[in-house]
């Protein structure tokens, strides 16, 4: 059974590129563009990993991950945050909120793929 990624991103062309990249690597991908309903979407999808944008309509990625960490069963869910804001303080805030790994835009596809594979493998070993 293929592993499952939820991608929360409001840029349709980024979503399309990442979706293609992961599908070709054997993952199933569900995408969602709204921050306000993101937590419920993730809970219902039960993914192996979440790729999350920081600046989302309705609710920021940081708030999404904070809420997620309070839900049963989502405390250890790997979250890869993609963001155009790459300052040290943004990274620290993301880590504090519960983000597993932080990656700044524009990213290389190979980096995203490697990060998704690594984070999932680490989660399986736990």
């Amino acid at each position: 059974m293929s592993r499952h990624v939820v991608l929360i991103e409001d840029e349709p062309n980024i979503t399309e590129a990442i979706r293609f990249l992961l599908l070709r690597d054997g993952w199933t991908v569900e995408a969602h563009a709204d921050g306000a309903s993101a937590v419920e979407f993730i809970e219902a999808a039960k993914p192996d990993i979440v790729i999350l944008d920081l600046m989302l309509p309705g609710k920021s990625g940081l708030d999404v991950v904070r809420e997620l960490r309070e839900r049963d069963g989502a405390q250890d869910l790997p979250v890869l945050m993609l963001t155009a804001r790459g300052q040290i303080k943004d990274r620290e805030m993301a880590e504090k909120a519960g983000v597993t790994r932080f990656m700044t835009k524009p990213f290389a596809n190979a980096e995203v793929l490697t990060a998704v594979r690594d984070l999932c493998a680490q989660a399986e070993q736990r």
Partner: protein
Amino acid sequence: MARHMLTGSRIRERRLVLGLRQADLARQVGISASYLNLIEHNRRRIGGKLLVAIAQALGVEPSMLTEGAEETLLSALREAGSEGSAPVAELDRTEEFASRFPGWAEVLATSHRRIGVLERTVEVLSDRLTHDPQLAASLHEMLSTAAAIRSTADILASDDPLEPEWLDRFHQNLNQDAQRLADSSRTLVSFLDEENTIADKQGMPQDEVDRFLADHSYHFPALEAESETPASLVAHAPQLQSQVAKDIAQRVLEGYGHNMRRLPLRLLMSGIAECGTEPGALAQKFNVPLEHVMLRLGMMAEEDLGTEVGCVVCDASGAALLRRPIGNFSIPQYGAACPLWPLYQALSRPHIPLRRVIEQQGRGGQKFVCYAYAWHAGPAGFGTDPLVQAVMLIFPSVDEKEEPVSVGASCRVCTREGCDARREPTILRDGF
């Protein structure tokens, strides 16, 4: 030119050298000959725009009139010598240095002034990058588009063959994103280009209001003469583009009108002629609340006041509601200012007037006399917390003997060491 001559005397001397009549110079700079006569005999203080206009008409730098050429050079050298981490040992031999090596002295003074200009540029840019929401949104848009382009291009450039429908899709996306990137780049460039049109200068609504007030020199004779109303002034102001800016400006002008009715200009000027610009004395003389006098003084023409004046009004959160700049005193456009300003000290002690002589770090050692006061704004009521506002008037210090309190502009551009009030490190250290 004599070293200890006063500004008015220097103006007179320079005018006579040029063979200009008092009436001609007065006409050129838009004041009456009798007022110029008072200035030339040092019976009226002069500064700000009027000083700049007179200096321009006389073909000299304003500092040549206020300090004289030699004093301007010595003052720049003293600043350069005392602003480092440790003052130079030969500071007391500045005059000897300037007279023995005039060429090198001029080079050093010019470099020091240039550093000051560059630091202020860095301050404005840093302030803007950190706090300007439009700039942040614009950069975010560009980076997101660049991310989409990079990711799509990675896929198209890979050796793995793509199915025709995916290939079409990605070509289409790439085309869309390239267009978006071009558009957002153009938007960003026009936003950063502040030189040409008002549309290019649009930032936050408060910026529009600041430009509107600055273009009127913070004074509205048409309101004083009741030939215009706040609504008519706002309606015809090209600087006010957004509805939010118009609403803010309308509130400022309504406050101006309210204070003006309590203290008409003619009455206030007679009081200034009698008591000077000390707000407490004026409030007592006219039996009006201190804040009315201070807000009124903060929106007066320099010509009427006889001196430059700066003014900052803030609410209880410290957010600036009005900023009237003065001389070298830096008032951050975005973000929080230095908590050591008397303005914020007054906020913690409402209804207690404060007078402080201050010196802003890194601003050439210029001293200012500040009057600050906080009061309960808005209607009082049982069970309702009062709204507090504070105002600070900033006057250039003339012959002030009191030891100044050292303050900053904002932490990012302040290098005061061991400051208990520091919120964040400065960006002006370590090799800048």
